[in-house]
């Protein structure tokens, strides 16, 4: 059964019976130079940088997957109060980070 997730205090319609602690998932990604150059051109006219949108959302999915892996290793069946944080940790590299509290719901 997949692990449930929410950014509220609890999973709607369920009650938390046990809570285990904070779980988190991260990933650091860099874009390659080709993308950088294309984005440079795109910046001239504005609009969505589709390649970046994709890169960031893919990375965020991976951060979530790692967070869920931690929750799974704690035998939790849900992660509540999930928060995201994106930060540029170095020139050209961004960290996507997700964290929440691992719980057991019923």
């Amino acid at each position: 059964m997949p692990i449930l997730m929410s950014n509220t205090e609890t999973i709607p319609g369920k009650t938390i019976v046990e809570f285990y602690g904070v779980v988190s998932g991260n990933t650091v990604r860099a874009k390659h130079v080709g993308r950088d150059i294309m984005a440079g051109f795109k910046n001239l006219v504005g609009g969505e940088l589709a390649a970046y949108t994709e890169l960031l959302s893919d990375s965020r999915k991976e951060a979530v997957a790692r967070m869920l892996e931690q929750a799974e290793s704690m035998n939790a069946n849900a992660v509540v109060n999930v928060r995201f944080a994106t930060s540029s940790v170095a020139q050209g590299a961004a960290e996507l980070f997700a964290y929440g509290t691992a719980v057991r719901v019923q």
Binding site: E9, I16, F19, G21, V22, S24, N26, T27, V28, R29, A30, K31, H32, V33, G34, R35, V80, N81, V82, R83, A85, S87, S88, V89, A90, Q91, G92, A93, E95, F97, Y99, G100, T101
Partner: protein
Amino acid sequence: MEALTQLGITLMVLTVTYLVGSAIERRHFDSLRKREARLRAFPTVTFERLPEGWQVADSGLAMGSTVVSLDYFKRFLAGLRGILGGRVRSYEPLLDRARREALLRMTEGAVADGYDAIVNVRLETSRLASSRGRGKGTAGVEMLAFGTAVKLVRQP
């Protein structure tokens, strides 16, 4: 000839920083694991509200932070990664260490002040730009953990 000397020096610096950097990293992970095990029974959660049944006697803000920087070898790898794109693996252990350190410092502070738990934990990351290279370089990364520490009337 000059290029070779330069390459030799670079390789030497890379080797030394790799060896020293990984030794420091290993030691830090050991220390993190030990301290985390010691504080395992102390609840830290991201809940905004208190778990039901908890009676709060007192509360305060708990904070912990650390500023970390990469060793030359890992920065070199990250630099190459910046050309190819993809997962910057060399940064992961550093950020993981820093975040756990910040969480631990927050928790240790709360324990020292006699609190029983921390709720509504938040984590922040920010890059400190280096003064060199027109602010493009990275001097370090700050990790901040903060939350509301509570003293309970009755243990949960």
